[in-house]
Structures are given as C-alpha cells and as structure tokens.
Symmetry: C2
DNA sequence: CAGTATCCGTGGTGATACTG
DNA sequence: CAGTATCACCACGGATACTG
C-alpha cells in the first residue's frame, strides 16, 4: 500500500483534498450499495427501485440517486410525459463501481458464517 | 444479480436477518477502510495506527479496531508488559476483505478526475 | 408518478478527562 | 502507552405532507 493513497483517503482533511474518500462514501453508503446492485440488472423506474430495495424512504432514494447521478455513476432519463416517467440506469462508468461493490457484497455474503463464528468466539472469550 | 442477495442486503430488516449488510458497514465504515488499508502493510501499534491514519479520535480507533477484531478481520496481540504494548495485524481472513476494500479504494482514486468532471457537468447543467 | 419541503428524533462522532 | 468513561453536538435518516 502506498502512503500517498492512505493519505488521500484521510477523512480529516477537507473534502477538496480527500476526494476519493467522498466517492467511496457515496458508493458504499447505506443505500448506494443497494441502488448500484439493483441497477446492475438493468434500467428501473423510481417506484420500481423503491419496491425492489424496500425500506428506503422516498427522500433517501432520491438523495442517493442524485448523488450517484452527479458523480456520473447513474444515468437519469426523465421522459416528458404525464404522468412523469423516469428511468434510472448505470453509466458505463457506474457499471465498473457497481461490479466492484457487488463483488465486495458477495464476499461478505459468503463470509457470514465465518464472521459469526469469530464473533461468538470473541464474545465467549470475555464472559 | 440474484434477488436473494439484494434481499439479504436490505437494511430495513433487522440486523439478525441482514448480516452481510452489517459486515459491509464495518469494513466500509469511515475508519474501517483506513484501518484495513494501513494494516495491509503489516503489524502496527495503536499509537502508530493513530498517527498513520490521522484525524481519528482514540475512541473511534479503539471502536473500529474492536469491531474488526470481533468480526475476525483483525488480530490483537496484547503484550503483558509495562508500559502496555498492543500490536494489530490482519488475520488471513481479514487480508481478503482488506484487499477487496483496497481495490475499491484504488479504483476511486483512479476515478477522481472522471467523477469531478461529471460533477462539473451536472452542476453546470442546472445553473 | 416522481419527486420536494419540512420537521424531528436518534445515534454516530469527537473532545475531554481519567485509569491500569 | 493503550485504552475507558462521560458528555454534548449535529448530521443523517425517517415520517409526513405537499406539488408539477
């Protein structure tokens, strides 16, 4: 690991000096992971995403989508029809992160048992 | 993407039913990423980590290390000497996540320019 | 339908002080 | 040195109501 990268990830410095940390927070955020994962499947409407993910408030879904769109990961296609129809999809760029995040998510999935065993051992060691 | 995994990642259900989401939050947490990254280099003492990472409060470093230790990612070696000496390192298991997280961090590093360009475009489009 | 606006509670976070 | 304990803050997230 290079020193410089760790330094660049340091959250103590302000946002302008720590851009990668911010991006990381966006894509690994509570709902960011789920939105990216969902969009790996294809294009979805706002309400579809809301149903797919489940548990997201409208506010947080909108906020998450906006952040990801602004970072260039998500493409927003608003059709000028009534009632409004908006489709979200991954940009090519976004697909790269989504896959990475997805790999990480799958790794954790596979590791649940090992982690839980570790936790049990840890907890028992101090009781 | 399988539906089941997305469901398993859903944060609306409680912790017991959504274990992978919790693990993900631990390793991608604000300081978790940095601790894992730092430990990819080798073994370090508490104060060394504190200096390396920079900006962490003692409390948060301790808390992060404990969480990662409990999950089985970090090994804590407390030597019974005075003054106390504690060394932290990655477990083999922890090295796996650390590398994944590290890859993601490096990806964001490489993508800073693209993201910032996207942001500029986004911001200009609505002003 | 696809959001925005607003209010409000909670817990994550940090500063400080203290201990073995 | 390597933490723990305590307190205080405020930003994040959720619920609700409203709009184009």
């Amino acid at each position: 690991m290079s020193e410089s990268v760790l330094r660049n990830l340091r959250p103590d410095v302000n946002a302008a000096q720590c851009p990668s940390r911010l991006i990381l927070e966006h894509v690994t955020s509570r709902w960011g992971v789920l939105v990216l994962a969902a969009l790996l499947d294809g294009s979805y409407r706002f309400s579809e995403l809301r149903r797919m993910i489940g548990g997201v408030s409208e506010k947080m879904l909108a906020q998450t989508l906006q952040t990801l769109e602004r970072d260039g990961f998500v493409h927003r296609d608003a059709k000028p029809v009534i009632p409004p129809r908006v489709d979200y999809s991954l940009t090519e760029f976004g697909r790269e992160v989504a896959q990475q995040v997805w790999e990480l998510a799958r790794w954790t999935e596979r590791s649940i048992d090992r982690v839980e065993a570790a936790r049990t051992a840890y907890d028992e060691a101090r009781s």
